[in-house]
Amino acid sequence: MENFTPYSALLGGALIGAAATLMLWVNGRITGISGILGGVLFPAQTDTLWRILFIAGLLSGAIVYTLINGSPIELQIQATPLLTIVAGFLVGFGTRLGSGCTSGHGICGIARVSKRSFAATAVFMTTAIITVFLVRHALGDS
């Protein structure tokens, strides 16, 4: 567990929770990233501007972090390009089919005590753990 970073994890989680709280309190909306992006791709009437602003906010948050931290964001992606494409496609298709991702179901849905979100979160967590097990231990070499 030498990679465990409890304090930054809790602080980051609280910031994410504060963001979701602000969205619901001020605008009455659920902070689901896949839903927000989906609404940009397939706009209903003129429901697009706030979604683009939210996504611009996400990127700005990363820029603010880089400025405060003084070093670039650390990203290590182990998947090959082909696997990355397959993964992206599954995430895009699956989050639309299942009406949400880690934020909409995991952070907001559970807070609303939605049984659909409890079920979805349990299923995508379990599936992701099984996938990593298969890739890393059953099929992989480590």
């Binding site: 970073t5 930054s8 929770g17 979701a20 619901l24 909306r29 990363a62 494409i85 659909r116």
Partner: protein, 144 residues
């Protein structure tokens, strides 16, 4: 007819929420796929950090949402926009299985993927383009 948050104050609050969310994802290092896979890898060198990100988020949202949803309406809108479906159906479970598989394969989910576009990392851009492709495919196949 959907009432949009078009007032400048509402739009500013949305941008601020996005900024806090992006900051949260970077502070917690959840933008790093290796960190996420480190959590999902229960049978390897397990890193419980992601569980604390969830816990930190829920510690805020669980009490806050209960209080907010007792109000008649949000501050700047005429009503709450909440999902109305209640059924645990095959689409919900099937979608969660596909999403979980993709999440496990790359260690990226939609929020961190969009946030880390700013790094100009080629793999992240590839992932996001494929993710948009998956969303378009879903729309084409299932909603028409």
């Amino acid at each position: 007819m959907d009432i949009r948050p078009n007032q400048p104050l509402a739009l500013a609050s949305v941008f601020l929420a996005g900024l806090l969310f992006g900051l949260g994802l970077t502070v917690s290092a959840m933008v790093n796929p290796a960190k996420v896979v480190g959590f999902l890898d229960l049978f390897g060198n397990w890193d419980p950090s992601l569980a604390l990100v969830m816990a930190g988020g829920l510690a805020v949202t669980i009490p806050a949402f209960q209080l907010i949803l007792k109000r008649d309406k949000p501050l700047l809108e005429s009503r709450f926009f909440l999902p109305t479906s209640n059924d645990i159906d095959r689409r919900l479970i099937g979608g969660a299985v596909l999403f979980g598989t993709g999440w496990g394969l790359a260690g990226l989910c939609p929020g961190p993927a969009l946030t880390s576009l700013v790094t100009l990392n080629g793999s992240v851009w590839l992932f996001v383009l494929a993710m948009i492709g998956g969303m378009v495919f879903h729309r084409t196949v299932l909603e028409n």
